[in-house]
Amino acid sequence: MSKDILLNAVRRGLKRGPLPEDRKAMLRGRLALHPRHTIPARSRLPHAGQVDLFVRNVEKEFGSVVRVADWNAVPDAIADYLSAQNLPSRFAMAPHPELQAIPWSNRPMLEIRVGRAEATDAVAVTQAFAAIAETGTLMLPSAPERPTTLNLLADTAIVVLRASNLVGAYEEAWDKLRAELGGMPRNVMLVTGPSRSADIEQTLELGAHGPRNLHVILVEDAG
């Protein structure tokens, strides 16, 4: 069997047979504990400092952030952003309970289709499970209420993030994911800024195959 051929070739190189049980148990212990390594000091800040660091990093990576006081302000923030960018007031939105609970009727001109993204969508709105201050990164795990295509297909991606879901380092986001989701979803995207390519003459151009604009609505809840 190819599996045995391959594993035996590896063991021949390592000059041993299969690992003894006690060694395997030790390695399984390491997998279960998944110990952290050094975490860079840059994100070791009080929460307010982490929020500021996150905003700075998103902007450094050509994304944009608007900070709003509560959920009621989200429809205005989105409508204002879309009109400022000359974009249609029509978008696909994740079927996430947090997003669906927003009082959209405040801005009746917004046309919302709830579901996954389709090729024709110009704007998509989704919810961030977590955000990482260290590099201005959004954590977007797939789920029925958070379809992956919303992160990818539209030219403009708008992500609603609760400040209390923002952490300093990647490790903290992964622990949050383990604790709240219980295991790995099918897909976890870590997104840092809008899509880009430097393949033409090693010069940066925004908007390759993913969104050209990445806009974060940061809801400053009690966190």
């Binding site: 190819s2 599996k3 051929i5 391959l6 594993l7 070739a9 590896v10 021949r12 190189g13 000059k15 690992l19 390695l27 399984r28 997998l31 998944h34 110990p35 952290r36 390594h37 050094t38 860079p40 000091a41 840059r42 990093n57 990576e61 079927p95 996954r116 090729a119 590099t135 990164t137 797939s142 789920a143 379809p147 295509t149 992160n151 990818l152 990647y170 992964w174 790995m184 979803p185 099918r186 897909n187 976890v188 995207m189 870590l190 997104v191 840092t192 800024g193 809008p194 899509s195 880009r196 390519s197 430097a198 393949d199 033409i200 003459e201 090693q202 151009e205 390759a208 195959h209 993913g210």
Partner: protein, 476 residues
Amino acid sequence: MHVATSPAFKENAHKALADAGLQKALARSGPSFIARRASAVAGLPEFEELRNIARDIKNHAIENLDFYLEEYEAKVIAAGGQVHWCPDADAARAAVLAICQRVGARTVTKGKSMIGEEIAINAHLERHGIVPIETDLGEYIIQLRDELPSHIIAPAFHLNMEDWEEAFRKHHTDLPADRSLAERRDILIEARTRLRSKFLAADVGITGANFLIAETGSSVIVTNEGNGDLTQTLPRVHIVLASIEKCVPTIEDTTSLLRLLARSATGQDFSVYTTFSTGVRRPGDLDGPDEYHVVLIDNGRSAMIGTEFQEMLRCIRCAACMNHCPVYGAVGGHAYGWVYPGPMGSVLTPGLLGVDKAGHLPNASTFCGKCESVCPVKIPLPKLMRHWREREFERHLSPTAYRTNLGLWAFFARRPSLYRLATRIGAKALALLGRKRGRLASLPFAAGWTEGRDLPTPEGDTFFARYARAQRDGTH
């Protein structure tokens, strides 16, 4: 299918030096990679500490690779996926083709994968009537031009704007001939529009993997364009091509390696899209593939374990070594003749193709040590190149003149008094020959060396003579 031209490195290098377009591209892009990395590294005071951690993580993973691969497979299966164990390139090609044929695939979109280049999967699919479409912008033009990538993270490193325009006009003949392609933006939008319909129509998406995680059964890809994500999200079937040494234990281990990868590669703190894929679409999911296959490929890696080349398996394919290499900077990636150029290629390629075919590569080094000093996992690349040189010598693969001269040198080196006499005569003779100009434009038996440079003439005594005199006089 591209036949490796690594045996012809010398001829390739000569051509590269005379290629004006290539030299223009190298001069433009080389320094920017170096500056961007330096700035990213300066922004992370823990960078050096993380290099040691990364080295240790990868060493630990290789020492226990059989265990971690089995754990990894168990997790992939639990997430509804399947692992195909492939000892060599033939097995890997057959596994991919069998999946594509079973699902009746007509077109396949592809994210950038160096192992895909290594096993030449595109040519194999084409031979069986399946159309592979590269979606990374750099890989896309490489496919249009029917070339190999010239760089492992920037496949079109060797091309200039005029090459892009020419290729797009030649291949996108359904578009108006008078359209403007003068700006980079025009090129990008045309490629984006063209590939969008391919993403939506593809039956299978093939990506590579930067890491495989034993803890969760996840494959990780890192891109800036988002093409890899569209490739693995939209089609019904996702196939991951990965070599065995990509397997690391945990998410935390992966995270530490990711902190080094983008900084070393493009000088970004983090790539735009770092995506973890684990199995198939879950109940209630509105998108994602129904099938998830990992084609796990050995193809020469296991044979490096337990040898002096085991350390090469730590490589995370960041390309910092080639970005900082004076040889790569002079001749570009195609001169190396195969998939992996630069210092990492000079070590890996002889291991994968055989030192008889790629023996020139480890010789194409100035041993300046820059590659080792920037390697995020601290691979001693110059030392490994030296090991290949030794093997080449032991197997009598090096040229006769080289062997004769080295033998001659060894004869004198073992006889110190003869050595001193010979160097004293040599130095005097050379000084006499070049007395007027202070340099020699050509030398007998070394025309190749003096073709591109002059030899300064020795002035006065040999080092030994001077040293002995200084000792005697008490001066330094």
